[in-house]
Amino acid sequence: MKKNSLSPIIKELLKNGTVNYFLAYGKGSFWFKVRPLIIREPVELKNLEWNRFCYPNLTTYLKDSSRSQDKIGVVVKGCDVKSVVELIKGNQIDRENLFLLQVPCDGTVDPGKVENLVWISKLKVTGFEETGNGLEFITKEGRVSVNKEEVFFSKCYKCDFAPSPLVDRYLDEERLEKNQPSIDNPDLYEELRIIEEMNPEKRSIYWEKQFSRCIRCFACRNVCPVCYCPTCVFDQKDTSWISKGVKPEENNIFHLTRALHVATLCTGCGECERVCPMKLPLMELNLKLIKEVDELYHYKAGVDLQSISPLKEYGKDDYDEFK
């Protein structure tokens, strides 16, 4: 894609002092992975990467720099910009210290979906190439063509990208036009239907079963760009919210608290679910909360800097179930 045009821009921004360092994507250890790359010197640009597997949301690293005066450049996709909106609204970062460089993206590939398509057939994938309409996976027994829509992250089908005034520079303005949702009028909450149709008892059994796999590695919390409390409620000492063990009932408390804490902040980037080694369907929880906030308060996180979170303001028309 656009790796070659990305490099000179970053080089220039570093050179003229616009930024102190750049958060970008670097070559990973596997064909299906990229590695977050912090570029301080132009020489580090040799590892720069931009491909279908640039799914990590790099804005999570901005949490760490909230108290620094560094000027930071970030390579962002349309969806990542939403997290930046929430970080600015939450006073976590200073807009003045940021430089957002947006690359056109019409979907990132979920390695899990590729694995299901290609690995199952016991072919060994060694790499991939972008073709006109799809992706070609290079295997020891030849090339396998895959329609790229089959292997995108589910959030990509519902991409509602719109150019944001926050972005300092677009890599390729012509391509922005084409950067439209993959499906017209997608059902944003499609994944929830099955769960919403369950009765409370069934739903409780469903979630308990899912949560029972949790190993409390906290990757979901740590990767989340909007999980930015300086001391997490679960890291406080001498509280009895949850212990260090993994009792199922404590797992429930952890996951429900995590999801509720980011309600009105969660932009649906899906990083929590992506990193979970136990494949907990965490986006089902987050999506449900996004939906509730949307329906009750007509509010969506990450859209603009002006609208105020429903948890931060009071209105006479607010939903009130005690009326």
Partner: protein, 353 residues
């Protein structure tokens, strides 16, 4: 043909064949007498789970996401219960009395148990761990399709060949080649001997052939055999900061590691009773070294990331003459930000030149 186990006790059963059509029956027979654990897939996650009738071995089973250590050193384990009433009763945890069979353990994970044995057996004997080791019969299953994250051969593992288990299984396609490696394994095979048939010389040779083919399929993540690295002299290397700056500080690498064994001990108390439990802990968590005084010697990610690699590649070796890594590849496969132990080994090998 006579197979020897690690204690050089003679095993008198020659290699056998287990037909895959009898496989489910084999599991059922084991279940009648033993507690049985097999790798099974649920909600897209393959884990070792207790077998109940009809459960299927995970299809295209590569390896379990959570390492086998969970069955010997569980993530949470109650050590004893106590009462604060007049007589201050202590109720010790019941030890396993029934034997259990763990099916389908991969060669890398079997090696990890021998490393954990060093920790739990060599100085202080850990009765909780040793009881579970003692009561377990391990059926190893040689790999046929290593993944790109695998590098067990760098630690002397033959991915296709099971060593250190009680029984070795090699997948021949329609059949399994069964080799008995210990007296425990012999007792299990004797218990359900009618399910097996005698292996012919050609089955045995085919098994050996498959085992060596698997080795050829291994990707070469590390050029050669991993050697102990004298990392202490790189303690102040700037490389650690570079490695750590993208680390999220989550527990994936440590919790998914088959050789990590750090734990915490804590009490859970209600009004008049309570329990003491131990649970996995991770050096990647900021509170791992937090002291009562509030001081934390590993305050930044740099110190924590360095500790993890130093422990695996250097400190453990200094103590036990083994590297605490078996090349299972879980940490590099699952790390959300692609921190890769093979790269770390590479970096410091180059620095040493």
């Amino acid at each position: 043909m006579t197979t020897m186990n690690s204690n050089n006790l003679s095993i008198n059963i020659p290699p056998l064949i287990l037909k895959k059509e009898y496989f489910q029956g084999f599991l059922e027979a084991i279940k009648d007498k033993y507690e049985l654990y097999i790798p099974s897939e649920e909600d897209g996650v393959t884990l070792i789970r207790e077998y109940s009738s009809g459960d299927k071995l995970s299809e295209n089973y590569f390896n379990v996401s959570l390492p086998i250590r969970n069955l010997f050193f569980p993530q949470e384990e109650i050590l004893f219960k106590f009462s604060l009433k007049e007589n201050y009763n202590l109720e010790e945890k019941e030890m396993l009395s029934r034997e259990r069979v763990i099916f389908g353990v991969r060669p890398c994970d079997i090696l990890s148990l021998s490393l954990l044995d060093l920790v739990f057996e060599s100085e202080k004997k850990d009765s909780y761990y040793l009881n579970k080791r003692d009561k377990s019969i391990i059926i190893g299953l040689g790999c046929v399709a290593p993944q790109e994250s695998c590098f067990c051969t760098s630690f002397g593992v033959e991915p296709g060949k099971v060593i250190g288990a009680d029984i070795s299984l090699t997948d021949l396609g329609e059949n399994y080649l069964v080799e008995i490696l210990s007296l425990k394994g012999e007792s299990l095979v004797n218990y359900c001997s009618s399910i097996f048939s005698k292996a012919e010389e050609r089955d045995f040779l085919r098994g050996k052939n498959i085992q060596s083919k698997t080795r050829e399929l291994m990707p070469s993540r590390l050029e050669s055999e991993a050697k102990p690295l004298n990392l202490e002299k790189y303690f102040e290397s700037p490389e650690w900061q570079k490695l750590a700056e993208t680390c999220l500080g989550c527990g994936i690498c440590t919790y998914l590691c088959p050789t990590c064994h750090c734990f915490d001990i804590s009490d859970k108390r209600w009004l008049e009773e309570g329990q003491r439990f131990r649970c996995w802990d991770s050096c990647m968590f900021s509170d791992f070294t937090l002291m009562t005084s509030g001081h934390n010697p590993r305050i930044n990610k740099k110190e924590r990331v360095r500790q993890r690699f130093m422990h695996k590649l250097s400190y453990f070796y200094n103590r036990f003459s083994e590297i605490a890594c078996v090349g299972c590849g879980r940490c590099l496969k699952y790390c959300p930000v692609d921190i890769d132990i093979t790269r770390v080994i590479g970096v410091f090998k180059d620095e040493g030149k």
